[in-house]
Amino acid sequence: MTDRIAEDLRFYQAAIQLRQQRQEVLAANIANADTPGYKARDIDFAASLREVLDGNAGLPPLVLQTTSARHISMQASAPRSAELAYRQPYQRSLDGNTVEMEAERMQFADNTQRYQADLTLISQRIKTMMAALQP
């Protein structure tokens, strides 16, 4: 039964985890906006999410060992961090840095909004579930 609830939230969990990871990569880009030779990185969100949902990404799932027929079998998967790609700069800079502050700030704001949207969706989902659980 608990597994079904986890299954229900799996998509949101994967999405928010990737959003958080992307947020971190974008923060690193903004932090290194003045570092010579730094190459801006980003995550292909759609492709990474598809990979996670298909179960291709990540380490092989850990399965609980059962020694009795009455044990409940369960498995946990640990997602690997998404693949980082390099951003193609619109304009080159002399010091080899490919961070473009406007682009990074825009992506950061965009990612923030989507993260918050995901949070709202999860909240709603949990509320629906709680309503269904009321006696």
């Binding site: 923060a27 932090a31 003045d34």
Partner: protein, 136 residues
């Protein structure tokens, strides 16, 4: 990797940028210091940034740190002032190689970067607060 490392990343940038501003301030303050403690004119300093990978992370994503502070190798500015006590035989005084305009621009650039990182921290903070109230 967690949201906490956003604070670490952006925090390191705040520290690096403020050190850059410190160096710029020192350069501007000493732009007319014809003689330092060693008797030589002050030389402009510059910070060199480098990526500081997060501890325990294999990804080349991380904060930033000041690798070193270097001295600007540009020649000293010469000013003709025979009445100056430090003037040489030709009447020229060696003044620091500080480019005041470039330093001002550097200062503005550093403060803008600082602001951008403050914004990142604020955003991460509010996102985390919202995440903590998830399901309430």
């Amino acid at each position: 990797m967690s949201t906490f490392s956003i604070f670490q990343i952006a925090g390191s940038a705040l520290m690096a940028q403020s050190q850059r501003m410190n160096v710029s301030a020192s350069n501007l303050a000493n732009s007319e210091s014809a003689a330092g403690p060693d008797g030589q004119p002050y030389r402009a300093r510059e910070v060199v940034f480098e990526v500081a990978p997060l501890p325990g992370s294999s990804e080349p994503v991380g904060g930033v740190r000041v690798a070193r502070v270097i001295e600007n190798q540009a020649p000293n500015r010469l000013m003709y002032d025979p009445s100056h006590p430090l003037a040489d035989e030709g009447g020229y005084v060696s003044l620091p190689n500080v480019d005041v305009v470039a330093e001002t621009v550097n200062m503005i650039s550093a403060s803008r970067s600082y602001q951008a990182n403050v914004e990142v921290i604020n955003t991460a903070k509010s996102l985390m607060a919202r995440t903590l109230t998830l399901g309430q």
